[in-house]
């Protein structure tokens, strides 16, 4: 039960290591800035900085990345409250309730609720993460190729919950991710296949540039559709921290938001947005004043914010426990770890406890910085949002490209990144979820490898995938999740639409 303590305790001295502390601070600033810019979330931030992490020590790199996600999930709500524009989709409900409060002149209250809920949600969820991930990882000790294949199938099912309302398009997106993995290189026979005579393709399509293209560049290209001219809108508001009595009734929504956020975040493919929406709904059901929801409910903001930040820890559970990225940013985290020479997967925790401490240090450090400076950052962040967006978008494109080039100094990587960026843009615009493609692109070669090695292990018996107890169990979970995912996704997207429309 308490075997997570050593990992947690090991993370504390890391906070005082000058290099790691500096990286956490840098991550915090990057996360704050990128999170606050409308439309840009932690995934894009990860995509931007990923190439730089290859230059860092692995522990510092993971602390840096997690500090980004802690900060981004806080800062995306600042423009949501003060301008009604969520920094990323997870803050949609905060945008509705928070902006309503802002227009009622209660900006200080909304910002304070957001600040408190985000900090508490983030802190508590770190312990949930450790509590859940270690038993899971221990289970993985019994896994052979067929079981691993089953685990990766669970990850594939994640795709279902990312598909949105058009299942066939969702699966096409997943297929494109798999295709990125199959081109060029056979992971079992280590022979060349499908290289189409292009020499550079013989090693396969490089995963990190492809991911950065699909997840980060695609979003930037999409933003370049619009010519923003927000420079002139001035925003004035009062910022006074409310008394404790005003925040007293928030305990329940914050706590339930934290639990829901961690658990939903842990479901592969779910991530911050559904976590926040479900927590919001849960808080509304439990609230004594459900009619306030949608018109400036502080309970709603609290639940949403706690869940958003808790999902940071939740998403790490499948990512670190099994090597299954639950979201776009987690796919990039796995990419960063893989490039550092770590194989995320069932044995990751037992082999690299210090890296898990690094993850915890990042989340913890980011949260501590948020507690100290977050309140004062709000005003500065608002200035940043009003900054010239055209310049931000174009320069971010440039930085992404140079970053990808710096990976191996190969123009081929940059070409892959831009092509994937354009494909990702088309996917964003025409209802194919690029996150699904990114997810399967990460998993593709592992799925194929474990399926084929498993098949060789059982001498060609497909039946063994159902009769081996763990395999059957995990595949059963995958089926359940698929069912839950299809149902939940349809329901949630419908709700979100009516709420936004209203």
């Amino acid at each position: 039960m308490f075997d997570f303590m050593p990992i947690f305790l090991d993370s504390l001295p890391m906070l005082f290591d000058p290099t790691i502390a500096l990286l956490i601070l840098a991550g915090y600033l990057v996360g704050m800035i990128v999170g606050a810019l409308p439309g840009l979330g932690p995934t894009l931030a990860f995509g931007l900085v990923l190439p730089f992490t290859f230059l860092m020590e692995p522990i510092g790199a993971v602390a840096f990345l997690l500090s980004i996600s802690a900060a981004a999930m806080y800062s995306n709500s600042v423009p949501a409250i003060l301008m009604g524009v969520p920094g990323s989709t997870a803050a949609v409900m905060t945008a509705i309730d928070g902006y309503a409060l802002h227009r009622q002149g209660k900006s200080g209250l909304a910002l304070a609720v957001q600040f408190v809920a985000a900090a508490i949600g983030q802190l508590i969820s770190i312990f949930f993460f450790l509590l859940l991930v270690i038993p899971l990882a221990r289970l993985a000790y019994y896994f052979l190729a067929p079981e691993l294949f089953a685990v990766f199938m669970v990850g594939m099912v994640a795709v279902v919950s990312l598909t949105g309302r058009n299942l066939s398009k969702g699966f096409i997106a997943a297929g494109i991710g798999l295709a990125i993995g199959v081109i060029g290189f056979d992971p079992v026979g280590t022979t060349v296949r499908l290289d189409y005579g292009i020499y550079a393709l013989r090693q396969g399509i490089p995963v990190a540039p492809a991911l950065i293209g699909l997840l980060a560049l695609s979003e930037l290209i999409r933003q370049s559709r619009q010519a923003f001219g927000w420079k002139d809108s001035a925003v004035e508001f009062d910022m006074k921290f409310p008394k404790y009595s005003a925040l007293k009734r928030l305990w329940y929504p914050i706590m339930s938001g934290t639990v829901v956020g961690t658990l939903v975040g842990a479901l592969p493919g779910a991530g911050g947005t559904p976590a926040a929406l479900i927590a919001y709904q849960q808080a509304q059901i439990a609230s004594k004043t459900p009619e306030e929801f949608g018109n400036g409910s502080i309970e709603g903001i609290a639940a949403n914010e706690a869940a958003q930040n808790a999902s940071n820890s939740g998403e790490l559970i499948p990512t670190i426990g099994f090597g299954l990225p639950g979201s776009g940013s987690m796919a990039l985290l796995l990419g960063a770890l893989a490039a550092q020479g770590f194989a995320p997967g069932p044995r990751f925790i037992s082999n690299n406890p210090q890296l898990v401490s690094g993850l915890v240090a990042g989340l913890l450090g980011g949260t501590i910085l948020m507690v100290i400076t977050g309140w004062y950052m709000s005003k500065a962040l608002l200035k940043l949002v009003l900054l010239n967006r055209s310049a931000v978008i174009i320069l971010a494109m440039g930085i992404t490209i140079v970053g990808v080039y710096s990976l191996q100094a190969r123009l081929f990587d940059v070409v892959v990144c831009i092509i994937c960026g354009i494909v990702g843009y088309l996917m964003l615009r025409y209802g194919y979820p690029p996150a699904a493609a990114a997810l399967t692109a990460v998993l593709s070669s592992d799925i194929e490898k474990n399926f084929r090695v498993g098949l060789n292990l059982t001498r060609g018996s497909y039946l063994a995938f159902v009769t081996r107890p763990y395999t059957a169990m995990i595949l059963g979970v995958a089926l359940l999740l698929a069912f839950w995912g299809i149902r939940g996704q349809v329901k949630l997207s419908r709700q979100a639409r009516t709420k936004v429309a209203a």
Binding site: G170, D186, G431
Partner: protein, 195 residues
Amino acid sequence: VPGIDKDPATDERPGIDKDQVTDIVVAVVFTALGLLIAVTAWRTPEPFRSVDVLGPNRFPLLVGAGIAILGIFVIVKQVYLAVTKTFQKGSFEIPGQAGDEPDVPASGLRAGIVSALLFGHVLLWETLGFLLSSMLFVIVSMRLMKESSWKLTIGSAVGYTVVMFVMFTLLLGVALPLGFTEPIFVRFGLVDAIR
């Protein structure tokens, strides 16, 4: 930028929506990609193997065929929709689409041109060099994004290029291509000759 941003008010005749057509074109492209992979995997001869049950071509075949079949399904559905139903211009909604922010002019053409510029400027790195080609990219793209201040545009272009160059090439040792400007930097000892 004249010609890119249309006034939505004057652009509302019924008929097939432009988005509807592109939706089908995108599905056709993805289907073709699936077919290409499936057919290549199908036609690749199986290598000799002793224990590998499936071989290297079955999984790609499955993936390609899956994309193609679903793609054909999407195409048929969308074509059927386009033939049987008329949409008011701009009212065609694509489920799951990442929509534009309201009240801000949007244009797919601009996104296309910016992507093309991004691609083009990278191809020019080896001849023009990173410095010049990136500055050009930033200036042209920011003008396309309707940035009206020349001061900011040129400032961003120069600032970005110089910071990237100093950080990557001078500090981190990543050799960004310098093209024809390379001899100048070599002359002043900033970078090593032909790496």
